[in-house]
Symmetry: C2
Subunit: 245 residues, 2 copies
Amino acid sequence: MSQQNIYDNEVFFEGYRNIRKNRGNANILIEKPALFSLLPDLRNKTILDLGCGYGENCGEFIALGAKKVTGIDISEKMLEVAQIENSDRKIEYRNISMENIHQLQDTFDVVISSLAIHYVRDFATLAKNAYNLLRNSGVFIFSQENPLNTCFTAGNRWTTNADGNAVYANISNYSVDGERKSKWYIDDVQKYHRTFSSIINALINAGFIIERLLEPVPTEEVMKSYPEYKKDIHKPDFLLVRAKK
Amino acid sequence: MSQQNIYDNEVFFEGYRNIRKNRGNANILIEKPALFSLLPDLRNKTILDLGCGYGENCGEFIALGAKKVTGIDISEKMLEVAQIENSDRKIEYRNISMENIHQLQDTFDVVISSLAIHYVRDFATLAKNAYNLLRNSGVFIFSQENPLNTCFTAGNRWTTNADGNAVYANISNYSVDGERKSKWYIDDVQKYHRTFSSIINALINAGFIIERLLEPVPTEEVMKSYPEYKKDIHKPDFLLVRAKK
């Protein structure tokens, strides 16, 4: 299937819901501060949130002064939660996949996406569609799994050297863009690996100017409280990009 | 030392000279075609080659129609070879380190560097200096070791999984920019690791617009003739960037 909707799978939905409730998860500790650090002043801006999920970010964009937020997601179940937990008269949730955003009639000041881009098979087309939906000087800001995390095709993510430090990362087939299967609550979660250069070149080809890349690692404070994130020093979990029309 | 000059070390010089004579080396097979694919039309252009070494590329830029090439290198021994092997009235070789290019009085249409940038401690300053030396719409084109190759601090570059395929790459301390020591003919060759995002952000901060990234891998033909390069599918040797003023 070209448009995967794992979030409407009951097993996945419950597993994911539990991890997102845990305040010590990598999204909250690492990805979210990095994503929000890339935001422009949102006051009076219109925002499109690709793969908005529960709408948590949509609510925060409104709190930061956004005029209107459109949150789209392929999963009706996610949007049902969003309507309950993050409802606002300035937020519109729509059951549209990231592959179909060209159907939207509006234009936006900011197109944003948190950890959903790696589910999209055709990033070149998504980048072009995002470009077309932006007003001039608008920005496309997204986080995704770091290419060092999306690449591997088999085996374990990490192996250890003689003294037990996890320094060997499995980056097998890093250079080969394409579909990857992984297990995350359910078997065969489909993701798409793209190298750093593929991602950046697709944005440039769409017309974007690259403004900032981030590969955030946990702060000292976070590593103290959550030692399991120390290994991110060897392989960051996320890549974030800000690109301007 | 902040400006390393390993190329004037006798042992290093001879080892390096031998590898560069081997027509099956990764520079010739992988890096050079990628570097030249990024070149604009060089006819009537002025070029600055950072870390020009033997001047092989300088000679080729002239063959491609360049008006004048300035080749700089920290190593007098390398420039002596350049003067013998790649001399041309349109090429000027100068014994200047990459750290001192701000001393140059000329401006250029193209600043280029093949596999030397990873020896420079302060890339942010180099990027600013390159920017200042370029005419408007000039381009900075460089190759360097891929960040997946410059990062590791200890142990082996590769380890293998149960079936003997080298899929585990040692990318220890990928997220930590800074000095690395490695052995390459001599002990303690100093290189500087920078993440993908550090490299790109330094260029953007200097004023550049990123135009293209490449992480070339060997062609099928090259892999057939040189099976040792098959592992590049897991971890590319090089990163190339074209950035525009």
